[in-house]
């Protein structure tokens, strides 16, 4: 026990330093009467029903506290009384902008417990759809950031080009928003004819979108002035808060579950792609990494489309699924970050306990620390750059 005391003090030192940094951003010199601004629950900036109670000094935030729960649907409880295939319908609605990606980790966790593995073709299609829902989601996040900083046009471009991706997802799954397509042991259906070429065209359009938006938004001086050096998350603070996905890679942490902690059932190791990071840790770096991820995503999809093996899309699983007793945790790299399901089974039709580790919950939990000392307009850009979906926080 004695050996860890220097380490311990170092940890505490770090925490202290970061806390001091947050405090120092609040200008305590000029004392004016504070004002409490209530952003939300219905507010244009929160894209959903997040409420932020911000104590202001002038336009500077002294303390900010998010209030959630306006959309809490209790999926963890509901999952306990549903059969395993029925749970996918629920979890589809967690991050409703990239729905398919919500199903994947749960199905993989169930597969792990059942010790079945989907056939290769199903794994490929699953990975493609997972990546496409990532693209569909992140595109919207980029466009939404435009709205947060006051540019009205990017969001329309985002919606336009997201539609191409959604059309392709719909062509396979029959659902634009809630595919509910993943099955334990494989997928519901095979690809329709001509889908591969159409998807490649769609990916081409997404790449065009990336170029357009880079010119329109990222290259804009005002956009850079609004995001550079704003909302800096140091590496260790981000890790301690459990930030994931782009938000941690934007702080220079080279960690991507797709590459590093890949679960069986996805085939990201079969393709050539790059994990982008940015050392700055500010709003701009998060948005920049996000844009690069869309580009990488299109590359991944293109390569996978070329490689899809033939074969069945469903492994042999019983008609009525009973999952053997055990516990399994599977996490995947979802659009908003790392999403994981901790599934406890008692050998029944229903899961005994499903802990949903959603990305946005952790990502947003840093806001009280991060928003301290910033100005009111920066609240919006910081929240926009963290990019959360309310369903992913409240579950």
């Amino acid at each position: 026990m004695t050996t860890q005391i220097p380490d311990l003090s170092e940890q505490e030192q770090l925490r202290y330093i970061s806390q001091q940094a947050a405090d120092a951003r609040v200008n305590v010199e000029i004392e004016t009467e504070g004002m409490t601004l209530n952003l939300g629950p219905q507010h244009p900036a929160t894209h959903g029903t997040l409420r932020i109670i911000a104590k202001l000094d002038g336009e500077q935030v002294v303390a900010a506290e998010p209030v959630m729960g306006y959309m809490h649907r209790g999926y963890e409880k509901l999952a306990e009384v549903r059969t395993y295939p029925q749970v996918t319908t629920l979890v589809n609605r967690i991050d409703w902008v990239g729905s398919f990606a919500n199903e994947t980790p749960f199905i993989l966790a169930a597969e792990k417990l059942m010790e079945v593995e989907a056939p290769p073709r199903a794994q490929y299609i699953r990975t493609i759809l997972h990546e496409m829902s990532r693209i569909a989601n992140v595109i919207l996040g980029i466009g939404d950031m435009g709205v947060q900083v006051g540019a009205v046009t990017p969001i329309f471009f985002a919606f336009r080009d997201r539609e191409y991706v959604l059309n392709q997802i719909e062509a396979v799954t029959g659902g634009r928003f809630h595919p509910n397509f993943d099955r334990i042991g494989g997928l519901k259906d095979d690809l329709p004819a001509g889908w591969i070429q159409n998807t490649k065209n769609a990916m081409e359009k997404v790449r065009d979108f990336c170029d357009q938006i880079e010119e329109l938004m990222y290259g804009n001086e005002i956009f850079q002035a609004r995001t550079r050096g704003i909302g800096i998350i140091p590496k260790d603070v981000g890790l301690a808060y459990g930030l994931s996905g782009v938000n941690i890679r934007g702080s220079g942490v080279d960690w991507d579950v797709r590459r590093d902690n890949m679960s069986p059932g996805l085939v990201y190791d079969q393709v050539d792609w790059k994990v982008w990071t940015h050392p700055d840790g500010d709003s701009y770096s998060r948005m920049w990494v996000r844009l690069q991820e869309v580009r990488e995503g299109t590359k991944i999809v293109d390569q996978l489309l070329d490689q899809i093996p033939s074969g069945p899309i469903m492994a042999k699983v019983p008609r009525i699924i009973k999952v053997p007793a055990g516990e399994a945790y599977v996490e995947t790299e979802n659009p908003l970050g790392v999403m994981g399901y901790y599934v406890v089974s008692k050998g029944d039709l229903n899961p005994y306990r499903v802990k949903i580790r959603s990305a946005s919950f952790n990502n947003v939990s840093i806001t009280p620390w991060l928003l301290k000392g910033v100005y009111v307009p920066d609240i919006i850009t910081i929240l926009g750059s963290l990019y959360f979906i309310l369903g992913d926080i409240d579950r």
Partner: protein, 227 residues
């Protein structure tokens, strides 16, 4: 609950042996740090590692893990091992005929999961070492008469909201938490929804239709009409 170690294929065995070493080493160094705080542990080869620690060693374990490189906080939650008193009595009749409840005996047997457990409530958390791609799931039993455990906020700041959620959902007191208010539920909400004995009201009012449409497996078209 430790039958997952059964390995079915032969070629996986060498992989198992290799990764086992990593996880065993992790466990060993953790044991060095925490000592007898570790009650039980379980390693699923090539996959995951579970460590159950005593309640008093909870914070120490967290700090030890953080100093070992597990700097990434993934989640913290709790689990109620007491089987639901309602069981499956509100499932539809179809489900009950298809899958009759296995043990009809009335005395409720509490079985716990991986790495065991002695009491009804267990707090569990997961931290990652993102450099070496290791992750560890920690568990700690809470005595039934004192549902409290020290807060993890000094170790992992991100535990703040997770503990609030666990507190309102399970009624667990996190000692030292600065702001243990309800996160999701209204302030005046009574009860702890995630406890197994908290009835899911909609289920009590209206039985679940159950497995009404089992879709045919791809390839065996329209044969499952008899269900």
């Amino acid at each position: 609950m430790s039958d997952e170690t059964a390995v079915d294929t032969v070629d996986e065995a060498d992989v198992v042996a290799e990764t086992d070493e990593v996880r065993e080493a992790t466990l060993a160094s953790l044991t060095d740090e925490v000592g007898d705080g570790i009650v039980e542990s379980h390693i699923r080869p090539n996959d995951d590692i579970w460590v159950r620690v005593s309640r008093d060693a909870w914070v120490d374990t967290g700090m030890a893990l953080k100093s070992m490189g597990f700097g990434y906080f993934s989640f913290l939650s709790a689990i109620d091992w007491m089987p639901s008193p309602f069981g499956r009595d509100m499932d539809s009749q179809v489900d009950l005929t298809l899958n009759p409840p296995e043990d009809e005996d009335d005395d409720v047997v509490m079985e716990t999961g991986v790495a065991g457990g002695d009491t009804r409530f267990q707090v569990f958390a997961r931290v990652n070492d993102i450099v070496n791609n290791r992750a560890i799931t920690l568990k700690a039993d809470l005595p039934d008469d004192d549902l409290s455990i020290a807060t993890w906020i000094p170790v992992y700041s991100g535990a703040n909201w997770h503990e609030r959620e666990a507190a309102e959902m399970f009624g667990i007191d996190f000692v030292g938490h600065p702001n243990l208010r309800n996160l999701y539920l209204p302030g005046a909400f009574e009860g702890n929804p995630m406890r197994k004995d908290f009835a899911l009201l909609s289920r009590r009012i209206k039985p679940w239709p159950g497995i009404v449409d089992v879709e045919p497996m791809p390839g065996e078209d329209e044969e499952g009409e008899d269900a």
